[in-house]
Symmetry: C2
Subunit: 319 residues, 2 copies
């Protein structure tokens, strides 16, 4: 079984986007507010909307995708706390319906109704300028709930409100790198030994600068990164070329690597150097000189361990 | 000859730092303003202050370091435009004195007196939130002057005003990645074919995500990155472990890689896995299977080409 742990719903029906336009327009002009949050999307439309993902799963040989709302679409910084809560609920509901309709292909991940400056205690946090780092006690109520529910959090930023930061080319990668560095600086997993985070896009710049992070941790008198973080922090494999994946497999322990492709996501084209899609990341692993048991970990075993609720679900289905 | 193109003056005399404290304290309380900007630092003190760098050059086998003020110390966002101009001049003056005193060991790089929101036309730019990207016409007067003077710019951010972004562990690397992505999005070198940028810290996350950047450029209908950027954009080698350097040598053309160690800089410790300093980056290249001519390019030839004024200087010294 091959589990792809990072997929966004980037093929959502037009009705959802039209609702969002109206919702935000309504902030400036109440007359433009949507009349209803019933989108009128049928099950058939939902199934049709994820046909591209299902087709690529088949072609590329992955089985199950952990599926979340469009990352840039979350846009926590936009609108008000109230519009954010409504938008989150609607986005998550669609994901839930898809995963119920196609349980063999998708397992659900929800976004949080974060809003800048509002504490996560109200489940409305925001990892934005001047909000405290992830290791701050501000976040603890959310972490307690994650642990209680045995849920795993992917730390994934959303779109950027600053045109100087391209969202998939700079802001995402910077968010990943920043999150990891915050965890290096703190001692979060001493307080939450059961908390699990997945950092997407191969961990941003982290594997490439692994020596820098080992060295910084050392200067801060932290334990070795393996003990300090790697029991709780995992990286996905959304890195779109073989040399990057090779580096990752070299510096990150195999137990911390979770297969993912982010399809359909940031980069959809065909790499002229290989003739294959950039984001067909499974092909890169097929080329690596890893044992069958290591590959099983990356493709399935680690995902089952890091997402225990997914594992229970699969077991109930006798997989 | 081995040229290290990225070194900061992190061993500056206490008198400089005391001046800066007084200067900034003077903003809140004019009584605390420094009475003079004559620091009273002697040539002997300056030479003594860079003994650690000179000693390491000898031990590690590099010859000449391109030397700049402490990156985090630039702190453009702090104080006023006027304090920034004074501070820049004083910092650059010290670098100039050191390079005059020890011309065999150091060649100078200056910081710019940037200040948030002030256009670079006045030579007071700031690459901060909501200022336009590097490809914007806002920056053009500065680029015209760089081209006219045949000078090369390293795009290096300074300290972070947000505790969520660790300066050497997140903000620097994020700045590097952001700068590269801005250049991908723009067409700057069509207007400035002779402009040259060096992106430090191995280019941030860029080599690790080289496939992502090739793919994003392709979706934006840009030329191949080689044609679009690599005639004008170069990467230093401040990457503190062998696998990172190996990756870099694999994906970045040898003509675009400039040796650098950033000593004494972000990471000063000894890597327990190798028994050598993390930032002794020359050792990593010594281990790579590169031809002698490629190594000569990385250690010297590229630096002479990318920094033509340095080359003239070395020639005048018959090197």
């Amino acid at each position: 079984m091959v589990i792809d742990i990072h997929g966004h719903y980037t093929t959502e029906p037009q009705a959802l986007l039209a609702f969002r336009d109206k919702q935000l327009a309504g902030l400036a002009d109440p007359m433009r507010k949507p009349a209803t949050n019933e989108l009128g999307i049928t099950d058939e439309q939902l199934i049709k909307s994820v046909e591209p993902q299902v087709k690529l799963q088949k072609e590329r040989g992955s089985d199950l995708t952990i599926f979340s709302p469009r990352a840039a679409g979350m846009a926590h910084h936009v609108g008000t706390e109230a519009t954010g809560i409504e938008w989150t609920r609607m986005s998550n509901d669609l994901i839930h319906r898809i995963c119920t309709l196609l349980p063999g292909n998708f397992a659900p991940v929800g976004q949080l109704p974060q809003h800048p400056g509002v504490p996560p205690k109200n489940c409305i946090p925001e990892l934005e300028l001047f909000d405290p780092p992830l290791t701050d006690k501000w976040w603890y109520p959310l972490y307690e709930k994650l642990c209680e529910l045995e849920m795993t959090a992917m730390i994934h930023v959303t779109s950027s409100c600053n045109p100087a930061f391209h969202y998939t080319g700079a802001h995402y990668i910077n968010g990943d790198t920043t999150a990891f560095m915050q965890l290096v600086q703190g001692n979060l997993f001493r307080d939450f030994p059961a908390l699990r985070f997945v950092i997407p896009h191969g961990g941003g710049a982290v594997p490439f600068h692994w020596g820098r992070y080992r060295g910084l941790a050392q200067e801060m008198k932290k334990p070795l990164l393996k003990e300090h973080l790697l029991g709780n922090v995992f990286f996905d494999t959304c890195v779109y070329h073989l040399p990057g994946i090779e580096l990752m497999a070299k510096v990150i322990p195999v137990d911390n690597i979770l297969f993912a492709s982010e399809m359909l996501g940031a980069v959809k084209g065909v790499d002229p150097e290989t003739g294959h899609n950039y984001d067909d990341t499974k092909r890169y692993f097929d080329k690596l000189d890893l044992s069958a048991s290591d590959k099983q970990k990356i493709f399935e075993g680690n995902a089952r361990r890091v997402y225990p609720r997914l594992n229970s679900l699969l077991k109930r289905r006798q997989k």
